[in-house]
């Protein structure tokens, strides 16, 4: 076992970028306010321009299309750009570049023109910022062949997955969760990576599988604690990446427990959980002991008031309630 240190998600992301910049001169960062002393709205890039130079950590104008386009051009020329779209809601300006150029580059060129960009962005939900600064839009990108989608939940995952994303030969959307930046946990030091496309069991259990990712992991773990007190043993499966999707691990877990709850902060209607629930249902139809349940964000613009915002998102109680229903279904 390698040594571990306890850090926050924010520190783990910073360490991943620091190590990537040190490891390979092709890596560079670009985005709004990234350089010191501002070092971004969230300070994920704190200290990196001071250490690696202003030519490796580039401050850009407020120009999301140009940031993405410049990263794409540089990637086509063999660089490994990591660009930040400060808050995911702003990605609309850059979607044309990401979806129509980066995600298509390898395929439409018959493999001649790869485009290894990493898009770092953050879902700001839960902080009272309202409709245009809080969304979880990962389903938009899952729907486009050609771009990977990664959503870490823990400090160790944040570091290991971000390093894999930066060096992945294809475009990756790396979705951070602002509300999780302060979460602390052990992080292996040194050259630690986690391959994309491998789910992780965050809590083992035998009665029901809660399939989730990102912020949902913590609600699911809280729900599992509450359920345990009632004698229901829930497994919490953290997908970690949505594309590629570790369907074998999902099916293995749900095949064992016979019950599944899929939960996420993205809107439930036509959300990531719809796809996952459909896959589970069709692959495990004869073995499921209850219909697959979904607990997602309500189909509403995110409101600003704290009580209203909380009512839109999933929470431990809603997840536990869904899990209880699946356990009670065949009794």
């Amino acid at each position: 076992m390698s040594e571990t240190t306890t850090t926050t998600v924010l520190q783990a992301l910073n360490a991943a970028l620091d190590e990537a910049l040190s490891a390979d001169e092709r890596v560079f960062l670009l985005g709004e306010d990234l350089a010191d002393p501002a070092s971004g709205v969230s300070h994920v890039t704190s200290g990196l321009s001071t250490k690696h130079g202003a030519d490796r950590v580039l401050n850009t104008p407020i120009s999301e299309a140009a940031i993405a386009g410049a990263a794409i051009g540089a990637a086509i020329e063999g660089r490994l750009p990591v660009f930040e779209i400060m808050i995911m809601d702003f990605i609309g300006i850059a979607v044309d570049q990401i979806v129509n150029l980066a995600a298509k580059a390898r395929f439409s060129s018959g493999g001649r023109t790869p485009c290894p960009i990493t898009v770092r962005t953050a879902s700001f939900g839960g902080l009272g910022n309202g409709a245009t600064h809080s969304q979880s839009l990962e389903a938009w990108f899952m729907h486009v062949p050609g771009i990977k989608v990664v959503v870490p939940s823990t400090p160790a995952d944040a570091k290991g997955l971000l390093k894999s994303a930066v060096f992945d030969p294809d475009p990756v959307l790396f979705l951070e969760t602002t509300a999780l930046y302060g979460k602390r946990g052990p992080v292996p030091s040194g050259d630690y990576t986690i391959p994309l496309g491998r789910a992780d069991i965050k809590r083992a259990g035998s009665d029901v599988t809660i399939v989730t990712y990102g912020r949902g992991v913590y609600d699911a773990l809280d729900a599992a604690t509450a359920l345990a007190a009632e004698g229901i043993d829930a497994e919490v499966l953290d997908l970690r990446t949505l594309v590629p999707l570790d369907l074998p691990s999902v099916l293995e877990s749900v095949g064992r427990t016979g019950r599944a709850v899929v939960t996420h902060y993205a809107v439930e209607f036509a959300g990531p959980g719809a796809e996952i629930a459909a896959r589970i249902s069709s692959e495990l139809f004869g073995r499921l002991r209850a219909p697959v349940a979904r607990v997602g964000g309500r189909y509403r613009p995110i409101p600003a008031a704290a009580n209203l915002e909380a009512a839109v998102y999933p929470n431990a109680e809603r997840i536990a309630s869904a899990a209880r229903a699946t356990v009670g279904y065949d009794k």
Partner: protein, 312 residues
């Protein structure tokens, strides 16, 4: 110019008489812009072009079988038929990207140039686009970024006076597209895009500026698009007198006459060039038509390097 015209003409002829199916945006009339620009570029300089890019691709030296093969969707094409007219790349000849989204290539060219600068290379990125593209956000964002960072880019507006089916006078409240550079503190000039020598001189100056650290240049090349927006466009929107005036300025007969008048080439020389271009296009087309359609297994390749966990 002759070769680009020959490819464009042969494709239109073949589609028109049902010899093969293809989707093209004809570049007839704009050949001098491409010829002048690409003559000023080194082979290792990069070009980003658009869906109306047949003349750009041919002028930059992409093999004819790759251009025609891709447009016809054959396995011999630049992207083995997976890209089509609007998505041709040819790294060996320096064509970094063809974009099907108006304006999208502008910031990408800035990124290519950024990579050159980071690597200490004296290479230059050029990007071509129509007048309509200069009304998009990507254009303005990319121009501003390239100028702010003083990147080695040459922005070339192929101003053919029509954006799809709407005239430039209905889509911008300025007389000259070149004025847009002023908002970004960028060098630039307006060029007769039907004069390949003028286009070459302006391009060479812009390329030299970029290559020697002088930053980006914006060129407005004024030209015309004889065949409309897409092949088959009846151009009902185009006044007959405007088309007639444009035909008077057709760059190809005009340049032929200039070469004859200057005694640079004879009628026989010009005929030989035309004959050679036609023969090369016919040979390439024959090779393309003999090539098979792409294998269905192409659908399993190039989505990602590693396809594990990727939906079918």
């Amino acid at each position: 110019m002759t070769l680009a015209q020959a490819v464009d003409a042969r494709l239109r002829k073949g589609i028109g008489r049902g010899e093969f199916m293809a989707v093209i945006w004809p570049s007839r009339g704009q050949e001098a812009v491409a010829a002048g620009l690409t003559a000023a570029l080194r082979p290792d300089d990069r070009l980003v072009t658009t869906y109306r890019g047949i003349h750009d691709l041919v002028s930059k030296g992409v093999p004819l079988t790759e251009v025609i093969g891709e447009i016809l969707g054959r396995s011999i094409g630049a992207s083995r038929g997976k890209g089509g007219t609007m998505h041709i790349t040819a790294p060996d000849q320096g064509v970094a990207l063809t974009t099907g989204i108006v304006g999208a290539g502008v910031p990408v060219a800035a990124g290519l140039a950024l990579a050159f600068k980071q690597q200490g290379l004296d290479r230059v990125a050029a990007v071509t686009f129509g007048d309509g593209a200069t009304n998009t956000g990507s254009f303005h964002e990319g121009m501003n970024l390239a100028s702010t960072w003083q990147l080695p880019v040459v922005f070339v507006c192929q101003n053919n006076l029509w954006a799809e089916m709407t005239p430039i006078r209905d889509t911008m409240n300025i007389d000259q597209v070149v004025d847009r550079r002023l908002a970004y503190g960028m060098a630039g000039e307006r060029v007769d895009g039907n004069d390949p020598e003028a286009m070459y001189r302006a391009s060479a100056a812009a390329v030299e500026r970029a290559r020697t650290g002088g930053g980006p240049t914006f060129l407005e090349a004024v030209t015309f698009r004889f065949e409309g927006h897409y092949f088959g466009d009846q151009q009902k929107y185009l006044p007959a007198e405007e088309l007639a005036a444009a035909r008077e300025a057709d760059p190809i007969p005009r340049y032929r006459q200039k070469l004859l008048d200057a005694g640079v080439l004879s009628e026989d020389d010009l005929t030989a060039i035309d004959t050679d271009a036609t023969a090369r296009v016919d040979a390439a087309l024959a090779e393309v038509l003999a090539a098979p359609a792409p294998e269905l297994t192409e659908l399993e390749q190039d989505v990602f390097v590693d396809m594990e966990g990727i939906p079918s």
